[in-house]
């Protein structure tokens, strides 16, 4: 085998169709091929990536660690963790919905169909549905909705009813509404532009859902304000919940202890690793940010 240097620093990442010499793996490093990378609106893009079948094990709430191309010629040194938006097993594709914000996502936005993109994953503990839950409530804001969207896929598969409260600045940036609806979720949009996203209003909606027996469990991502509200209502009505969190991350495997956050467990403050202990955590243990 001639030794070839490559931009990926590795010759052991899996491409579509490769035979996996370590099939017992939980996590892979994959070189996917960009199928499309379409702009959804001024802020968001939607990446579809053809990947090796080992990458399709990802479930709702899990992440991939993305080796983003440079947007500016200078090196992007670390991967960027991003939750998976959708897994299409039949097409052998994983999808990401992202906001172009920092250097990593700006580089990612430049990917063209046919380009290679190196992703490592799936990482972490995702959302879990208990068999006793018949109806769940999902409340998300901004890009947090991309993390929550696949939960509706999971719920649909298990016959669980979903009410999704989608919070955003204005109608133009309400993300994932179509995907939630397509998967049978009832959606309620609340906006800053008409004041309906105010905590008091969301609280009123949640209280109604609880009274109607539509809230066996709470799920959230993307807003500290909404997390605090759901923690309060969860405690009051004894409703369990899960929250997806993010943090600056390096290794993704639990080794480096960069991505820790504070949690309160049995009255004690502890640090947990978002990459391995999360990114989905018990809502009541989250201290917020």
């Amino acid at each position: 085998m001639p030794l070839e240097l490559n931009d990926n620093y590795t010759n052991a990442a899996l491409r579509v169709g490769d035979v996996d010499l370590y099939p017992q793996r939980h996590v892979g490093e994959f070189i996917g091929i960009v199928v499309s990378n379409a702009r959804i609106n001024d802020e968001y893009k939607h990446l579809v990536l053809k990947v090796h079948e080992q990458a399709l094990k990802a479930y709702a709430g899990q992440m991939f660690h993305l080796l983003c191309p440079s947007p500016d010629g200078a090196e992007v040194w670390m991967r960027r963790p991003m939750s998976v938006y959708r897994v299409d097993k039949a097409a052998s594709e994983v999808e990401f919905l992202y906001k172009t914000e920092g250097r990593g996502t700006r580089g990612m936005a430049m990917l063209q169909p046919g380009d290679e993109f190196n992703i490592a994953g799936p990482l972490g503990v995702g959302f879990k549905l208990r068999p006793s839950w018949k109806n769940i409530v999902v409340v998300g804001r901004g890009v947090g909705l991309a993390t929550l969207a696949p939960l509706s896929q999971l719920a649909a598969e298990q016959g669980v009813g979903v009410t999704a409260i989608l919070s955003a600045r204005h109608e133009g940036v309400v993300m994932s509404k179509a995907l939630f609806a397509e998967l049978g979720a009832r959606t309620i949009t609340v906006l800053d532009s008409d004041g309906s996203s105010a905590v008091e209003n969301v609280e009123r909606i949640l209280e109604e859902l609880i009274a109607d027996g539509k809230a066996d469990a709470f799920f959230t991502c993307g807003s500290n304000r909404l997390l605090k509200l759901m923690q309060r209502l969860g405690k009051k009505h004894n409703i369990p919940g899960q929250v997806a969190m993010e943090q600056i991350m390096v290794c993704g495997f639990g080794a480096c202890y960069v991505c820790v956050r504070t949690f309160e467990v049995d009255g004690k403050r502890v640090l947990k690793r978002v990459c391995r202990d999360g990114p989905v955590f018990n809502m009541q243990e989250a201290v917020g940010w």
Partner: protein
């Protein structure tokens, strides 16, 4: 096919590629077959459970990342009872990194870690954000000598000593460690660094200072390995900026017997396996029968490295 095995004192590594302490754990078994590595290197363990430093613990710079983690862990008792057995499931030797702020406690920890499943004690006397008199002993010859002498008296395990690139004269410190009984030298820990944000004027890391981790370190650490290898007899493990098989070759030519890899494994979690395969191919293409032929094989015999001497000789 090339024989990739190397000896570090009494320990044989099946190949010269190991992870660097702090950049690895048994959890990497999720993504690569750990039985293919030259060694397994556990994250530095301290006596008491520690939470570590405030976040953010990592920041990107123009040429690598800086990080300051603060040696979090569950303490030595938990480590010996629960973590060592996780590593013992795999075949490569287990190298356990250890640190303390006092020399007496350092030696006592090394003694308590000398259990059957631990193959090597790596004395991390070079944590960059600690003081020279309290954990970063490798900043100074005398502290290094005293610390390694004390550890040597308490353990019969192979003792590797991790040196600091932040010391003024690493060769003197390497000799002090060798004379005090080190079986091998690990060169080097990370470079003490600082990043200040221009948006809010604050240091980017929660602990203010951090260690620089980057491929940019390779030429600097390679120079240190070269200089130390000329002056000591014990083996050297080179750590700093290895991202590909040729980098392993380069460190071995400079005098290292093995390498440690940190950053590249963060960037590409499969890279350690890739580098081992590529190193094998590299040697086979050149008809190299034993990788140990590369150790110290740099062709520098006819070169004058002292520029003053060179200038006076009219070179």
């Amino acid at each position: 096919m090339v024989d990739l095995s190397v000896k570090i004192g009494d320990i044989t590594l099946q190949n010269p590629v190991t992870p660097a302490s702090g950049a690895f754990s048994w959890e990497y078994n999720d993504v690569i077959d750990l039985n293919r590595l030259g060694g397994l290197v556990a994250k530095t363990i301290c006596r008491e459970p520690r939470l570590g430093n405030p976040t953010p613990r990592m920041a990107e710079t123009e040429a690598g990342i800086i990080q300051s983690i603060g040696l979090p862990g569950k303490g030595i008792e938990y480590f010996v009872e629960h973590i060592v057995p996780e590593y013992a499931k795999f075949t490569p030797p287990l190298i356990v990194s250890v640190s303390s702020e006092s020399i007496e406690d350092f030696a006592a920890l090394a003694e308590e870690l000398s259990v059957p499943d631990v193959d090597v004690i790596e004395a991390n006397i070079s944590c960059p954000t600690r003081n020279a008199s309290g954990g970063n002993f490798a900043m100074h010859e005398d502290y290094t000598r005293d610390c390694i002498t004390a550890i040597r008296a308490k353990t019969k395990k192979p003792l590797w000593v991790k040196l600091s690139p932040n010391a003024g004269d690493i060769v003197s410190i390497a000799k002090a460690a060798e004379n005090a009984g080190a079986d091998a030298l690990v060169i080097a820990n990370t470079f003490l660094s600082l990043k200040i944000r221009t948006d809010n004027f604050r240091p980017a890391l929660g602990n203010k200072f951090g260690g620089l981790v980057s491929p940019a370190l390779k030429p600097i650490v390679l120079r240190m390995v070269y200089q130390v290898a000329k002056q000591v007899k014990i083996p050297i493990i080179g750590i700093g900026g290895v991202t590909k098989a040729e980098d392993v070759v380069e460190y071995m030519l400079a005098g290292a017997s093995a390498v440690g890899i940190g950053y590249a494994g963060f960037r590409n979690p499969t890279t350690l396996v890739s580098i081992i395969e590529d190193l094998e191919a590299w040697c086979d293409e050149r008809g190299i029968k034993k990788v140990t032929e590369l150790i110290g094989a740099v062709r520098d015999h006819d070169m004058e490295t002292d520029t003053l001497v060179a200038a006076s000789a009219g070179v």
